[in-house]
Assembly symmetry: C2
Homo-oligomer: 369 residues x 2
């Protein structure tokens, strides 16, 4: 079969490789219909994630059809249309039982082999899914292949980022409703100001999610005009990172306080720095971008004096899907708008270059055979 494989930093190669086989009785082989190219694939591509084996099949976003099934796989059959979270999970360990499926004790990231250990990715014609019963999710009627693909990572990750921000702010809002009569009539999030830093796929999904969850006032910051336009279509007020002064603008809107919640969806030092500066005292910094910085742009003293709430980490997609599937079925947003490029697996090398360099107004690339 064809597969996009990692060779060395900044070099992937489309290769013909053997079709994966069932290795354990809990495995499923999925025939891939659509796979995605995700921002975190670029961490691998750039060599930030050290030690990925040469010839690892790339990609952790894929949906398709169950093609072959281990003898001990439950609730799935050949022909089922399924999507996969970007990491698999057992559904039974300490973390899975607490909804933190992304920290499953047996979980592995797709497209991440180190010293022979790990599992291949989905940028291929077929992919082996271990722990399939507790990992794969059947795709309900009314969800397209492309939208199902977005559920594998970016849509759930954006939702998780927004939900975390809102959960952390909840005690302040209940206090307000309890002690201020005029707020008892209002909707929960009528008066909060949310800022999204970064309008890549995850940032855009976090905008849609925040609005779906009831946020009325949301600003989005990026330096790429076409991304700001999609953010606007999703309901955010765009702020250009360079042409405008985001901090001044947000302070102006909030009587000098800063945002109640900042959703940081980039994952580098400067985006985290900007996010912290945009945040009001006792606000919530929900940071979802995988961040390889070796330091924080703020210190514990800054955090103390801001009464900081900081929440970060890998999205537990399998758990979040119980909320994002109804979200998608609500048909409130055309999520596929972010898919700017449908390409063939055979164009893999070119696709990585386009996405990495943000050429041709690229927001999101998906692969179809």
């Amino acid at each position: 079969m064809q597969a996009i494989t990692f060779q060395q930093p900044y070099k992937v190669l489309v290769k013909t490789v053997p079709i994966p086989k069932i290795l354990q009785d809990t495995d499923v082989i999925v025939k891939v219909c659509v796979s995605g190219l995700c921002g975190s694939d670029l961490h691998v591509y750039r060599g930030d994630e050290v030690g990925i084996d040469k010839d690892t099949i790339m990609g952790h976003e894929f949906m398709g059809i169950v093609n072959e099934i281990g003898s001990n796989v439950k609730d799935l059959k050949v022909g089922d249309r399924v999507l996969s979270p970007f990491s698999n999970c057992c559904g039974e360990c300490f973390y899975c039982c607490r909804g933190i499926t992304s920290r499953c004790e047996k979980g592995q990231l797709f497209g991440c082999l180190k010293n022979g250990y790990g599992i291949h990715g989905g940028q291929a014609e077929y992919v082996r899914v271990p722990l399939a019963s507790s990992t794969l999710v059947k795709i309900p009627e009314g969800i397209s292949d492309n939208t199902a693909l977005l559920l594998c990572d970016v849509l759930c990750t954006g939702y998780f980022c927004a939900e975390n921000g809102l959960n952390e702010l909840a005690p302040q809002i209940s206090y307000l409703k309890q002690y201020k009569l005029e707020y008892q009539k209002k909707d929960e999030y009528d008066d909060i100001v949310v800022v999204v830093v970064g309008c890549g796929p995850v940032g855009l999904m976090s905008i849609a999610s925040a609005i779906y969850l009831g946020v009325k006032t949301i600003y989005s910051i990026d330096s790429i005009q076409e991304r700001l336009e999609i953010a606007k279509e999703f309901g955010a007020t765009p702020i250009h990172l360079i042409d405008e002064n985001p901090i001044e603008k947000i302070k102006e809107i909030t009587n000098g306080r800063g945002a109640d919640i900042v959703l940081e969806a980039v994952g580098n030092l400067s985006s985290l720095d900007l996010s912290f500066k945009l945040l009001r005292p006792a606000g919530v910094l929900s940071s979802i971008g995988l961040n390889h910085s070796n330091t924080f742009p703020f210190n514990p003293n800054d955090g103390y004096h801001k009464n900081l709430k900081y929440i970060s980490g890998r999205c537990p997609v399998r758990q979040i899907l119980t909320k994002t599937i109804p979200f998608v079925l609500s048909k409130k947003f055309n999520f596929e708008k972010i898919i700017t490029h449908e390409m063939k697996l055979s164009d893999g090398e070119k696709a990585y270059e386009i996405f990495e360099k943000k050429l041709d107004k690229c927001v999101k690339v998906v692969f179809k055979k």
Copy 2:
């Protein structure tokens, strides 16, 4: 009147100064019965808090009797027995309305004058309390002077630290109860492991608070034996920082995972480092110690890979008192156990030395005339 005044780093001086007068019609003058010496007074004492004016009256913990009252003060009268949060608040601003009274737009810390701006502290015979109606709280029957003094800061701060940790963990527990039948019968916090780093007054109060809030399994770490003994009396299992290996011990207890919640009640780089290492993935790090470190001992990448929830900041005492007054009235703990030294204001200089150097098994000093 007598007052303990700041002169320069590591030098306070007991002086005779004028009795404060009403300056605004919302002021109250409190005749102090008991004032406290708090760990954060040591930040001032050591000169960590730069720019405190010479002759500032020290201290932000005090309780006493309303002695004089401004013309516009409501709900208080001369003779009322009152306690004060360590900072005052207006009760009306954006932050006060959200329960973040410690970030009140008009709030000031007691015992903190910089370039003539600010308010004097409570280590004196009298203290002026601006915004008195929304700051001072009448002390109910059945709460002693010493216990009331502990409510001004350390007891509320410890409670805030514990409550934050438990609030952040709540979604995981509700998920567990929803999806695992055997957990539906259990109490909410039956199975969680909490670790308190630092058994100073705030750490000890956070132990009592966590237990009051339902925690069954709690470990406390310190290097001072007599503090570990009080922690044990409050219901924690003590771990000696030096003689034992806290990280190994907690990993052992939690099948190698780490603690669900770490309550960090010291406020320096090494305590924060230990706290992070003690924490399991997707655990909560509730850090209450005022921390002057200029860097975090972990980085955003570490935080991401641990799905870190980090919460810190100054306790909103005025709001927390609505919960800690019933807590105190429950009589479940003898909080005064932490008061190892009752001294006279005239012994101020000696008291700071004893407390700073932890001489004579000192945990907490209070002053009475």
